[in-house]
Symmetry: C2
Subunit: 253 residues, 2 copies
């Protein structure tokens, strides 16, 4: 094994991919110890700093874990194949699960921002806002209602797009927007008549309401989404990290 082909990919990303694929292919199994850093450096023909950048990334992804005087270990358990906190579009989630995503567009138009909408997006009230409201379906079963609001100037021509078939995230990427992070709040509420009708539920049944503010890499708000999932048809996954408790390893392995 060896990297450094003539990819434009940074070396440390190639190293990440290589280690990931060795785990996927079973060469490295959960719980196994990796070769020492200095040895891996030689095998991959990269410097130790670069290797460590790759290893650090893999720890963030929950793929590896380190123990000071002991070595690097492949993470064990179910968390292994799970996605970390990635911001995934509905279409991407569907693809990953092997299902077909589709949409029914309820609303796709530009209207002035209300006071609340303006405040969330840090823009002036009345600013033209593109409203996109869709019922999201998996294999034709209604899963959620998604209402997204984007400053119209960021997405010219979006009222002409047919979002029943096109992916919003793809169109955003084409428009040059770079999503970085979605700050989200999650709560459980009762389905009102409107939601119940579109999700084919009884009024009062639980729905999972997720409100997101998506920002770009300069922390500028790009858009807000309110997604209401049918309680018995969807489940969110995330993880919480314990902020640095100065981990001083005691047992394990």
């Amino acid at each position: 094994m060896s990297i450094r082909s003539d990819y434009p990919e940074p070396l440390w990303i190639q190293a990440v991919n290589l280690i990931n694929s060795e785990i996927a292919s079973g060469v490295l199994k959960p719980g196994m110890r990796l070769p020492p850093e200095r040895e891996l450096c030689q095998q991959l023909n990269i410097s130790r700093v670069t290797l460590r950048k790759a290893l650090t990334k893999l720890v963030e992804d929950g793929v590896l874990s380190a123990s000071h005087g002991r070595g690097w270990y492949v993470a064990t358990g179910a968390a292994n194949k799970e996605w970390p906190n990635s911001l995934e579009s509905f279409s991407e989630t569907a693809e990953r699960m092997g299902l077909t995503a589709s949409s029914e567009v309820l609303r796709s138009e530009v209207a002035p921002a209300s006071l609340d909408e303006a405040e969330e997006l840090s823009i002036a009230p009345g600013t033209p806002l593109f409203h996109l409201e869709r019922v999201r379906l998996l294999n034709n079963v209604p899963i959620a209602i998604d209402l997204t609001r984007i400053p119209a100037e960021l997405v010219p021509g979006f009222t002409e797009v047919n979002f029943a078939t096109d992916s919003l995230y793809e169109k955003l990427a084409e428009a040059g927007l770079e999503l970085l992070r979605a700050d989200s709040t999650i709560e459980a509420r009762e389905a009102d008549e409107y939601v119940a009708k579109h999700l084919v539920l009884e009024v009062g049944k639980p729905v999972l309401v997720m409100k997101q503010l998506v920002v770009d890499n300069t922390d500028k708000p790009l858009f807000t989404s309110t997604i209401q999932y049918s309680g018995d048809r969807y489940r969110l996954r995330t993880f919480f990290s314990r902020s640095n408790a100065l981990s001083r390893t005691r047992r394990g392995h």
Copy 2:
């Protein structure tokens, strides 16, 4: 300004703290550009690699952002004071919000692990498991029911602790357990009779169900929690990151 006192703290952490404090004190204001890396290196008397490790950390924390040919900028907006995905105990959350947390203990005993419980924790069925079930209250209002299961060998003597007043997280820390991450699933469900009674709700009202598997820094499962929040009395916060979309900066600043 200069660091490198005789702290045992790593230099890059000292750099993080210093920059953080300069922002807090208003020397660096949101939107401002930082001095070039090479200049900062001289001022702080550290190498560029070390400085960049600090800057990278500050980006993760949402404090700074970088633009390739332009420089480093202090992040703008409200997201600045928000906490990231920290794994916080109920008591800590309460304290942060200025409320008083308390508990009513429904169950505190050791019992053998069922098949399901054993699988979640990667232990043998029948292994003694400490079960702690509590109603969690804020200012004496019932907010949630929390059922936590911990292998009994990890927490000797816990059946003697009075968890109506003592914090579970504090006791876990005293027992030498180091929580690293909680993998969580979240869904909306209807309150059953048991939950409804203890949370003073009507049966069928929405509850937010969060199931967590908490692991230590070697990815060993420590315990599982199932927390059922009254839908109208609690709201979760988290964020999702867009995994590397090869950010190619276009606009901004």
